[in-house]
Subunit: 504 residues, 2 copies
Amino acid sequence: MWSHKKRFYPSFIKGHDTELAALAKGIGEVGLVMSITAKNNGEGKPFLNMAVLIQNGLITNLQAKTNLATDTVFNDYRFYEMNHGAIVTFPYRGMTTAVLVCQDLWEVYDAAHGEHYFPRHPVSELKGKGVELLLVPNASPYYWGKGSARHEMVKNVVETLGCAVVYANYWGGQDELVFDGRSFIMNNNGVVVGAAPAYKDAVVVADLDGPAVTYHFDDGDVQALEDALVAALRDYTGKNGIKGVVFGLSGGIDSAICAVLAVKALGPERVICIRMPSQYSSQGSLDDAETLAKNLGIRFDTIPINDVYELYVKLLGSTIGFGTPTGAFDVTEENIQARARGNIVMAYANKYGYMAIATGNKSEFSVGYATLYGDMCGGYALIKDVLKMDIYRLSEWANHEREIIPRSSITKPPSAELRPDQKDTDSLPDYPVLDRILKGLVENFQGRDELVAQGFDPKVVEKVIMMTDRAEFKRRQAPPGPIVSKEGLAWLNRQYPISTKFRP
Amino acid sequence: MWSHKKRFYPSFIKGHDTELAALAKGIGEVGLVMSITAKNNGEGKPFLNMAVLIQNGLITNLQAKTNLATDTVFNDYRFYEMNHGAIVTFPYRGMTTAVLVCQDLWEVYDAAHGEHYFPRHPVSELKGKGVELLLVPNASPYYWGKGSARHEMVKNVVETLGCAVVYANYWGGQDELVFDGRSFIMNNNGVVVGAAPAYKDAVVVADLDGPAVTYHFDDGDVQALEDALVAALRDYTGKNGIKGVVFGLSGGIDSAICAVLAVKALGPERVICIRMPSQYSSQGSLDDAETLAKNLGIRFDTIPINDVYELYVKLLGSTIGFGTPTGAFDVTEENIQARARGNIVMAYANKYGYMAIATGNKSEFSVGYATLYGDMCGGYALIKDVLKMDIYRLSEWANHEREIIPRSSITKPPSAELRPDQKDTDSLPDYPVLDRILKGLVENFQGRDELVAQGFDPKVVEKVIMMTDRAEFKRRQAPPGPIVSKEGLAWLNRQYPISTKFRP
């Protein structure tokens, strides 16, 4: 019953092989190196992640991927067997050449830790083999600022092996993953002699003895984050045939950034924003929303929710006691408003074949400061892996040429405006503190003790941990969204239980 | 940067070790064998899944788990290294004894397939070592009917090794997983001489030469399915401190079964059902809902949604064209009703600290015949891994002593009642056909060609595959719910992309 044969669709492999054969037919003298899903004829999992050379109509196996990852967003072992053979070299156009698939290039870093996360050390195994050219096909998931680590790592490999490295990287969004491209060629002196842009197809022709080229590798600048989010949204909508996007524009900073990003990804004609005032909305927020929509040139509708909210309260009054002395205003009433808005946004999405965007940020998703089926409605949670303080950075960047987002959206105290005079800080620590705690808790796996040792107030730390754990059931139902940090909160990445009494 | 040390909370291991030490302190002469998370001092992943003997205050390592699973719901490799050492035997109270952790017992089946999914064969490695007693601690996720496969497997091991087997299994629900207990002791003649009930703590004392005991191992009878769902709901609510459950009672069979199961899990006093009629509700359904609620003795409220639905339509009319010649009735209007109901159910959940139950079944979840943020609202989707035809079986079983679910709920054609004279069969194949196609598609990884070869209408097969693929974005946002089949549709199990043009 554990036979692996039944846990994939045979037609997937059939289609894969058909496409590969068609590709091979069209390729002549110039060799194409890529990695494919090859049948594993040996023991173990059914497939190998195999780098092949396609040339003159022939497909030649070169090197199977050796080290397979099963952490963060990776789950290679689900279908793939590791390479149990050697790391080989072969002559190619007069150069001693080797191929390492993606992860296999990174092993050199682990040796530096004195810790062997992976069973083999492919780069080390190539030492002394006279490698002149190392070809590396990658589908290496992006995180903000990864470029500098990647550049450093390739430089180390060049120094270790004394060879040139061709680092070819997939680009585009795939559900929650983002791939940034930024392929480059580094010669054996550590000089980048060819480079592709981020998030674009490119043919890079380089002379290994040629001059250095300009190469933006993403060292964590805010533009790189914006580019990743825009590419993710563009690909998610494009790959799923979605006509446009719709969401509520509250006048706050989160929905404002979503509007800016959506317009960059899809153009203003494919973005609809809705203002949905209630009795708790401030005039300032309503004005800010309108100004932003005008600045972006997007369709902007207004649908007040006062009446529908009051009708819900009246309907529920007879059974659960709204409007009676026992029916005190609590999170119930707040959520009714958020969910009434969700219903309206989704009606737009349904009527127009558009996708709703959920506009919550990573700080909110962490502590659960969002309403399930309310402001969490949507096909894509565009900024769910971006901390609030980085939303501010994105906002300043959005305004760096001219004021797109009204100044007051950025400067006013954040509020959900679901009850009179509400502020986020009524329930949450100040965002600069919250974000630093979350960075430790989520991105660095620091628990209460480690965080308190850094000087944070124990009560605040405990509250943030408790809120983050309790919000897991909400995140489990959150829309997918691009992972752009080293550690996101999506299941694909974090895999944290809902039912647990453990607190980190 | 790939150092594994940072990807877990140190406090988890600290807490684990503290609890273990406390347990050891309390244990005297009677040996306790259990599996723990032990530090891996060798190369590889940070931990070993280690079976230990706790006796007279001492904790002794016995045997680390050898074969680690990374498919269906398993992801052992994320944190655990496999045992690279021998499968050992040791003397225990005069018997040559061995311990295999969970999965390691099952390997004997793979040899029969001539396919080695796992690198080692622990049972075979014990051959010729004179094992008399084999102890097997398990946390082996349940699927409906697993008992007979498990019983057969243990019997094979007993025959292969000529030893007695103590099969000890965890019981309870853990988020989407269910464990059924049903621990048993089989002597070296293949006779079950001791057995624990399902979903209950038990101390089983057995004489290996004693008589056979009665042992219900779950061969796929409907009671076993009901038990699994009841246990799952009881544990999910219990472990998360949820006071009770609430959901809409439509008069249809799915919400009816959820009500029956909820009352069995929590008692009638912790279940609230709401009838939410619209202009499209049939009087028959409304009456059936009321009769069922009376039969179960649960709180039953009625909140008509006509007015709130009409208000939404009016509000949206000015912007997206309801009520005008261009605003034809489509899925938008259907979803507004479902989401208005969702808002009401969630208001109850918020006000009372209850959890909403999403009442959709596996057939609906497969093809996306449910409204996101509408009838998919809830903390737990209790029957999301139960096909519609099995819902009928559960319904008949619920009525086997007296009529709880009104006969007409079972016999009437299924309908969402979101537009005049709607039937499920307007959009879907008949359920007997749909379910057989889904069993092939989802549970057996059969694609179009394999299904058509079985005699299904190609057009119907293609439609079901298309609908199932397109509904992945909905399932990604579905509440968690118990996996009770060999292959559920939850991400934990299926891991299917949203963005793909591939169709099986």
